[in-house]
């Protein structure tokens, strides 16, 4: 090593120029990262492949401006020098630097970092100019001319080397923007942001507030809120959000940015607008329509930009031309309402008409009204379902590319010629349950990825039952740190859209080797409980890896029919002799019955703790949509759903307990924080309108009072109340136990002290982590080091984000398909476009309604833009006339020449559903009131269905009352030591037969 010195001029903390001398050591041996290396460099990690035509050494300017081009995977053999890397770090900020880091880390990219500044022959003292050139020369010598080395500088000739059309376009688009940036000037539209030091000092002293800006979707122009973060400020009155009103005060911040705001004096505080605007229906209902002035502030600086790629649509050509002198610059409209229009310079405007285009933001100068951006990629024609789906994915930051070859190469093979087999070493190290246990799975019909199987048996001696939950052993196939693991980690979950799904794991695993199919040997992770046969108390628990063979792959309907004692054919037993079949069937039936009994016991236990029947509501609405829109067979909630879900919850709970005990600081659990009381206000108020009182002090009280709040006339009331209760809830979240105090571990909805996800590793990455933790907890030895608390917390956050994105995408895709469904129908004539709706909230200029038939929620206006209101005539038909509108707390009245009419909460009305097309955004459904009578009375053919339905529902009501007595019966059962209580069983079976148990949840275990 040779020591040299470098002299830097830095700014000291007091702002003075300081001369700093730092040592700098250079050496001869610096790994080159090339597989062609002749000098036996000690290369670790990524190595450049040898089968490229040349290596590329970009210089600082190129990387700075054209990083996006380098991000193309087609570009191989890129050598980034340390000089470039550090320059980017200093000059372009953390975000760009991180992108560079990911690029270098990503094993899929063929690029390496070369520490040229530490190489003796490449090192040049820091002066004006570049020392990248000497690095390129060094490479040339080092590789003995085996590979041509190309150095790129900002020179368009060099770009033509790439021979990539996309890169070309991108290049021109970026170059255009750069050009623009240079000749910009003019007056300032916005105030300048304050320098970072001032901001930091201001935050510390409590003068400024730091937070993430979120723009109101419905009033993107005017309203934005800053979620108040942290406890740095002593300002105690500030426990709510801070309003940022208007674009001026928002000062160039974009939705999602981390901003610093300054509070304005109290006399300038404003309230939020409360009237309905378009599409507000699905928003969380706000507590009050009166808008009290709330803390208002203005943005003084942006700490961290959180810009992502945005999908935009170009305006029609005519509009472009009217812009006159800036013919080259086009204002495009983002798909997301919350994002401002983006100014783009492009010559391809004509070609991009009617297309959805991905745009990246570059900058937002204080002189410009709109941010500048450039075109990255064209998605496709607007309005095309495929394009719209891609748009939804992109807007939710979901990146799903096909699994790469390298990933698939890691996978085991299972083909006809080469069937996959259980390896003998694995078989010996696992507990073999193939012959000792009757294992079966119950899933929806046609399910490919069977995550979970169950077993139950009476242990010899008869005193104890053994309940087993066997989960696909994904971690056996997906080793930590493998490419598949990395991919699964970045996806975090399988994405279910309305018409398709994007798997987290390659199909060979998710649908085959990990899937616990019937009749084949599979690896599993099992939890086995020994329960007391009488009291069903847990005696011992065993966790570990097992080898199973599922005997029956049942579906819910089949299992339920078996339980009901109906004569059904089990496909697995078709070919057997009668006597054998009967024997097998009896065995299976016994297992199912025992399982049901255990599940009921578990459920009763949780009910005592205050478990809520809420979470199913939202899912059920989506099922309704699915049923109606894609005309699927309706999935009916059966008791067996609950049975399976209960076992899964139980397994999750016990695994959570185990890993939390073993790793008190680094276990991944899932908690559901108790909701804030004020979120319950709309629920309480609505319930009051119908004379119910809702007690929200605890989950137990809430569950009980929701159970009571049943209107025998209208079952929808209860359903809507439950829906509102669900809206008041916060989301359940993953967290690492080390970063959360123990009292926050509680799962509010399930009423469990500890909860995690363990049972679906095929479609959730959190479960994979939990599997690894559990294995480490059981075996004590681990394959690799476990993730620390910090790392796990980051991961939990990542998974939470992705889950939210997945939910959002699912919701948006469902909405998309709803729109597609209604788009082809003539809304004036088609009967399907008229439906019954229930009022569930009132607003200043209309009300929010729920359409049970389609599971839609939406706003219904009683006042249009011209100020006319909707009057109701004697026949109940509605018409737009002039009049006034009066809002009360439980009703809204229209007063017109025809008379006065009030719409009360939970009133049934008839609405017409139409599609409101939108050029730049997603299409929306529009609800229009056509009658104040329930829809059913007008339509004879639907009337019968409606009546039949209501009858059934009424019967369910009765059953629901029976059901509420269930825990009591169970207690008696315990008290009198009745091993089997046929009367209770028959009772519940009846509910099952009805198969319209509207209140039961079907997806709890899988959420």
């Amino acid at each position: 090593m040779i020591k040299t010195e470098k002299i830097l001029h830095l700014n000291s903390s007091k702002g003075r120029k300081v001369r700093v001398v730092r040592e700098h050591y250079v050496r001869e041996q610096v790994p080159c990262g090339s597989s062609l290396c002749q000098a036996h460099c000690h290369n670790v990690g990524k190595v450049l492949s040898s089968d490229v035509t040349h290596y590329v050494v970009p210089d600082v300017g190129v990387v700075r401006d054209f990083l996006e081009i380098l991000e193309f995977r087609e570009l191989q053999g890129v050598i980034l020098t340390q000089t470039v890397y550090q320059n980017i770090q200093h000059s372009r900020g953390r975000r760009i630097h991180n992108r560079l880091r990911t690029l270098l880390k990503d094993p899929r990219h063929d690029c390496v970092l070369f520490a040229n500044e530490f190489q003796q022959y490449c090192y040049c003292p820091r002066e004006k100019g570049e020392n990248v050139y000497s690095a390129a020369v060094w490479y040339h010598h080092h590789l003995a001319g085996l590979q041509p080395v190309v150095m790129i500088t900002e020179d368009s000739d060099a770009i033509s080397h790439f021979k990539l059309q996309a890169a070309h376009d991108l290049y021109s688009s970026i170059a255009q923007t750069l050009l623009e940036r240079e000749n910009e000037g003019g007056e300032k539209v916005y105030t300048e942001h304050l320098p970072a030091e001032v901001l930091e000092a201001g935050i510390k002293s409590g003068r400024y507030i730091q937070g993430i800006l979120s723009v109101n979707k419905h009033r993107a122009q005017h309203e934005a809120f800053v979620r108040y973060e942290g406890s740095a400020s002593k300002n105690t009155e500030l426990n709510s959000d801070v309003l940022v009103s208007g674009v001026k005060h928002r000062n160039r911040a974009v939705h999602g940015d981390m901003v610093v705001i300054e509070l304005m004096p109290r006399n300038e505080w404003k309230g939020r607008t409360m009237a309905l605007t378009e599409g507000q229906g699905e928003e969380r209902a706000l507590e009050d329509t009166q808008s009290q002035p709330m803390p208002t502030g203005r943005v003084v600086g942006v700490l961290q930009r959180n810009w992502r790629d945005y999908v935009v649509t170009f305006p029609p050509l005519e509009e472009v031309q009217t812009q006159g002198r800036n013919a080259l610059k086009i204002l495009v409209v983002p798909w997301d309402y919350r994002v401002p229009k983006i100014r783009i310079s492009t010559q391809q405007a004509e070609a991009l008409q009617e297309q959805r285009v991905i745009v990246r933001l570059d900058s937002w100068e204080s002189t410009s009204l709109y941010p500048n951006g450039h075109v990255v990629r064209v998605l496709g024609k607007a309005g095309d379902p495929e394009t719209e789906i891609q748009t939804i994915l992109l807007e939710n930051c979901i990146h799903v590319s096909a699994f790469s070859e390298a990933q698939l190469r890691e996978m085991p093979v299972n083909s006809k010629e080469k069937p996959w087999q259980v390896s003998s070493s694995e078989a010996s190290s696992r507990k073999d349950l193939r012959n000792s246990h009757l294992v079966f799975s119950i899933d929806p019909k046609g399910c490919e990825d069977v995550d979970d199987t169950l077993s139950v048996r009476r242990l010899p001696g008869g005193k104890r039952l053994e309940l087993g939950v066997h989960i696909a052993d994904v971690t056996h196939f997906v080793r930590e740190g493998s490419l598949t693991d990395l991919e699964a980690r970045s996806r975090a979950t399988t994405y279910y859209l309305a018409d398709r799904r994007y798997d987290m794991l390659p199909p060979v695993l998710s649908a085959d080797l990990c899937s616990l199919l019937g009749g084949v040997d599979r690896y599993a992770m099992s939890v086995l409980w020994e329960l007391d046969a009488e009291t069903l108390d847990v005696c011992t628990v065993w966790y570990g890896r097992t080898l199973i063979r599922s005997s029956y792959q049942l579906h819910y309907e089949l299992a339920q029919s078996l339980l009901n004692g109906e004569q059904v054919e089990v496909p697995e037993l078709k070919d057997l002799k009668d006597s054998l079949r009967d024997q097998k069937l009896a065995e299976l039936l016994l297992a199912l019955e025992t399982l049901t009994r255990v599940a009921r016991h578990l459920r009763a236990q949780r009910d005592k703790g205050g478990a809520l029947e809420l979470e199913g509501v939202e899912v059920r609405a989506q099922l309704d949509e699915k049923k109606n829109i894609t005309a699927l067979v309706p999935k009916q909630p059966l008791e067996v759903h609950e049975t399976v879900a209960e076992c899964m919850i139980y397994a999750n709970h016990w695994v959570a307990r185990k890993i939390q005990e073993s790793f008190p600081h680094q276990a991944l659990l899932r908690h559901h924080p108790a909701p804030k009381q004020e979120f319950f206000n709309p629920l309480i108020d609505s319930a009051k309108a119908r004379g119910f009182s809702i007690d929200t002090r605890s989950n137990r009280a809430l569950a009980d009072s929701l159970e009571r709040a049943v209107d025998p006339q209208d079952p929808l009331v209860n359903r809507l109340l439950r829906m509102m209760a669900t809206q008041a809830m916060s989301n359940a979240l993953y967290f690492s136990t080390g970063s959360c105090p123990e009292e926050h571990y509680y799962h509010y909805g399930l009423a469990l002290e500890r909860y995690t996800h363990f049972t679906s590793p095929i479609r959730r990455y959190a479960d994979v982590i939990v599997h690894r933790l559990l294995m480490a907890a059981v075996r004590l030895e681990t394959e690799g080091a476990l993730a620390g608390n910090k790392e796990l917390e980051e991961l939990a956050r990542h998974i939470n984000d992705k889950n939210r994105a997945a939910q959002q995408a699912q919701k948006q895709s469902t909405e998309l398909f709803q729109c597609l469904y209604f788009r082809d129908k003539d809304f004036l004539t088609d009967e399907r476009c008229q439906a019954d709706a229930v009022v569930y909230a009132v607003r200043a200029n209309g009300f929010l309604a729920f359409v049970p038939q389609y599971g839609l929620k939406g706003a219904v206006y009683l006042k249009d833009r011209e100020g006319r209101v909707l009057g109701v005539d004697a026949e109940g038909q509605c018409e737009w006339t002039s009049g006034t509108l009066q809002k009360y707390c439980d009703r809204i009245s229209t007063c017109t020449s025809a008379g006065t009419h009030s719409f009360h909460l939970f009133d049934h009305v008839t609405v017409r559903i139409s599609v409101e097309p939108s050029r730049c955004h997603a299409d929306r459904l529009h609800l229009e009131l056509i009658s104040n009578r329930p829809h059913g009375s007008l339509q004879p053919e639907t009337q019968t269905a409606a009546r039949g339905r209501s009858e059934m529902v009424q019967e369910v009501m009765r059953r629901a009352e029976d059901k509420s007595r269930r825990p009591k019966l169970n207690k008696e059962e315990k008290q009198f030591r009745q091993s089997k209580t046929p009367n209770l069983y028959v009772l519940l079976q009846e509910i099952g037969e009805l198969s319209l148990l509207d209140l039961s949840r079907c997806e709890t275990g899988t959420e």
Binding site: S12, R19, G45, H798
Partner: protein, 257 residues
């Protein structure tokens, strides 16, 4: 991608990337490598012993007087061994910003005390009862690991003064970044906010003369860190030994002629 971004964010808050992914530190060294060490002995004729030492850009002058009778009050003297008196100071021009450094401020008196404790463990003080040995150390340029450089310089000065020592006293600081121990921290690394441990070792016996650490460190990592520091001290001792031998050769050459 979000994960790496987050971790980078956390790192970014801590400031510079002290250890790159390829294993280079900011100045181009690898984790276990020392800075360049240069030293000369007998730089002053008046003193009984003196040495000048450069450890990277940290430059130290050490001067030793004694053993001599205790100056001032008799009460300070010990009847069975010598008293070691250390004084540490920094030149006004030793850091990037010029700063007046009065004697007896908290930092330098703490450093003096540390030095005193270190050398009480190494010097055979019982050979000189009722006497005193003075060690004066001055930092001319501070660029991290000040304590270690002082100890190393003072060792050379003591050798130069001919005071019997149990062994060389070699000191080195080590830090801990992302599961890796860094030997011989420079100023940027020290001020980066991470852990720094100073270790003074008697290399032949492996006895520890002094170990000092102010910051927090997980217990599991302590062994690793100590090991790295000890290894660095062993390496240093070879260099110091070389300096002493070369000095002796020079001196004997001079006396020959």
């Amino acid at each position: 991608m979000a994960i790496t971004e987050l971790s980078a964010l956390l790192k970014g808050m801590a400031g510079l990337e002290l250890l790159s992914e390829q294993g280079y530190r900011l100045d181009g060294r690898k984790a276990g490598e020392l800075r360049k060490l240069q030293a000369r002995m007998s730089v002053f004729a008046q003193a009984d012993g003196s040495a000048y030492l450069e450890q990277g850009n940290t430059k130290v002058l050490a001067v030793v007087y004694g053993p001599h009778e205790t100056r001032g009050s008799r009460a300070k003297s010990l009847h069975d061994r010598a008293v070691i008196n250390c004084q540490f100071s920094m030149a006004t021009f030793s850091t990037a910003e010029r700063k007046r450094r009065p004697h007896g401020d908290r930092k330098s008196s703490e450093m003096s005390l540390h030095l005193k404790q270190t050398f009480e463990a190494a010097v055979l003080t019982q050979l000189y009862p009722r006497s005193q040995i003075d060690i004066y150390v001055k930092i001319l340029q501070a660029d991290g690991s000040n304590y270690s450089a002082c100890v190393n310089a003072a060792t050379l000065a003591l050798v130069d003064a001919g005071i019997p020592l149990r062994d060389y006293v070699c000191a080195c600081t080590a830090g801990f970044v992302e599961d890796t121990a860094l030997a011989d921290l420079c100023h940027v690394e020290e001020s980066g906010g991470g852990t720094a441990l100073a270790l003074a070792l008697l290399p032949c016996s492996g006895n520890i003369a002094l170990v000092q650490m102010d910051s927090r460190l997980h217990q599991d990592h302590l062994d690793k860190l100590m090991e790295a520091a000890a290894k660095a001290c062993q390496d240093l001792s070879k260099v110091l030994d070389g300096v002493v031998r070369r000095h002796l050769e020079e001196v004997s050459d001079l006396t020959k002629h």
